[in-house]
């Protein structure tokens, strides 16, 4: 349904996302994992046509029959919020503080051609569907009267309002408390028609998604079914990341990846991970291709 091929994002001379390709089938939940500077958020924003000024995308991305990349803003605007929609990290700033919740949910539907009474009725219905307690009261409330978790549910209701074919979530629970996060993740997994879920948290992605793409330095370095990638990682970065995210008992040293994540656009040539990789050799000065069916990896010295 969504197919992305050779997506590249650049700002001036720096290439921030390089030749990213993947596909999402209807009903599929795909995770996009990466740390700061990995290009995961830029990948999502380029699908939404929401890249910041001065940043451009090339390559192709199709949702059904429609092109998402390299088409005029007016065409994307029509799709955004209807065919695909997005939930952002920060629920505090994403809602208009002066508008009642119900009106904000209804607005996205009237914008895309629904009648006002119908939109209002559906908005109320949606607030119930994202399991907000007492939807009628929330409908009349202002954003500041809601907790962070409730606001993020409202954002989800807005994203789902026009029954999009694809839902993109960018760190939707990072700003929430862990006890709230769990319910939110379950809800997203349940209601998403098809999901692209962006996060830095391996455990979160494992609890929501079926398939995962691991990004580092603007490239997809490994992809495959979650269980396989997380139990038998092939790329050395994925391997290191998995090891680093397990907390060993007190008094023992935590496994680490050496060095720091370079700033965006300053990753090494060839394999982007080679300056931090314990296995790196001169072979890694060449760019490794993403190879493998199902479970793919881009590494010259993959783990077994």
């Amino acid at each position: 349904m969504l197919s992305v091929d050779g997506l590249t994002v650049r700002a001036d001379s720096a290439e921030l996302v390089h030749q990213v390709s993947f596909a999402i089938a209807p009903g599929e939940r795909v995770g996009l994992i990466g740390e700061s500077g990995s290009g995961k958020s830029l990948t999502a924003l380029s699908l939404m046509g929401l890249l910041p000024e001065g940043v451009t995308a090339s390559g192709t991305a199709r949702l059904g029959e429609r092109d998402l990349v390299g088409v005029p803003e007016s065409r994307i605007k029509d799709l955004r919020g209807r065919e695909l929609s997005m939930v952002f990290q920060e629920p505090m700033t994403a809602l208009n503080p002066l508008m009642r919740i119900g009106a904000q949910v209804a607005e996205v539907m009237t914008l895309h051609g629904r009648s006002s009474p119908e939109a209002r009725a559906r908005a109320l219905d949606l607030l119930g569907r994202v399991r907000l307690p007492d939807p009628e009261q929330i409908f009349r409330a202002y954003p500041h009267q809601l907790s962070g978790g409730q606001r993020q549910r409202v954002m989800l209701a807005i994203a789902l309002a026009n029954e999009p074919r694809l839902l993109i979530c960018d760190e939707p629970t990072t700003a929430l408390d862990v006890t709230v996060q769990k319910q939110m993740l379950e809800l997203i997994a349940e209601v998403a028609p098809a999901l692209l879920f962006i996060t830095h948290d391996l455990a979160v992605v494992a609890s929501v998604c079926e398939r995962v793409l691991v990004m580092y330095g603007g490239r997809v370095v490994e992809s495959g079914p979650i269980r396989e990638v997380f139990t038998r990682p092939r790329h050395r970065y994925t391997e290191g990341l998995l090891a680093a995210s397990k907390l060993t008992p007190r008094g023992t040293r935590l496994p680490t990846i050496q060095g720091n994540v370079p700033p965006a656009g300053h990753f090494p040539d060839g394999c982007v991970f080679r300056n931090r990789c314990p296995q790196a050799t001169t072979a890694c000065e060449q760019v490794p291709a993403l190879t493998g069916d199902g479970h793919a990896h881009a590494c010259w010295h993959p783990a077994d």
Binding site: G148, A203, I226, R227, S245, R253
Partner: protein, 266 residues
Amino acid sequence: MPTHAGTPLIEARDLTRVYRRPRTSLTKPGAEVHALRDVSLTVHRGERYGIVGESGSGKSTLLRLLCGLDQPTGGSIRFDGQEIAGLPERRLRFLRENLQIVFQDPMSSLDPRMRVRDLVAEPLTALGLPVGDRVAGLLDAVGLPATAADRYPHQFSGGQRQRIAIARALAPRPKVLVADEPVSALDVSVRGQILNLLADLADELGLTLVFVSHDLSVVRHVCETVAVMSRGEIVETGPVDDVWAAPAHAYTRTLLQAVPTLEGLL
């Protein structure tokens, strides 16, 4: 596991902190918010003490009180036998020399207009202690090159900035290091480096560690003792392994179940 004989280093008794919301009516004063209710805790010399709680649990308020950055509405805090509650800043020098803080977000806790050299030396210059050539030594201790001293914070990655913050905190040779969510703003691949660094430094320098986090599993890796906070109160406290294995309070159980773990999911 070390035993903690002798006098406690930090002893808080019945700490209460009430904030008043800005007034919303002309006739009535603003509503009172009880950020902290009758909180007591004891941290011994050399102990690694964890405080766990979510937003609004009061852990940040407690931290500010322990660090002498805010005044309690009621209760007492003794640091090394001396009362600090109610003391004005000019009489808190003994606390500042002996207790330093590493903040959550190294992007915002380092003044963007200052060079690393001045940031690291600030606790020394502020307390009138000699700086000498300590900066290079401190940077080395946290794994940064001496050349870092002449740069500005924005030229470093998140992990490196947290190293700068740790070097700064260690400058006056404190007895206690308070770490407020020191790794929650960092990438997973560097989180381990910072936690290892903190553990090494605590071992080498014999530091007492007060470690605040929303993540009980991180606290379990770092600390021996934990206090679980919810709604301004400590609901459970004890050895972290006991709390982890058999949480007594319902809230602790909820917290433990809510955190997704890879081990549990795969």
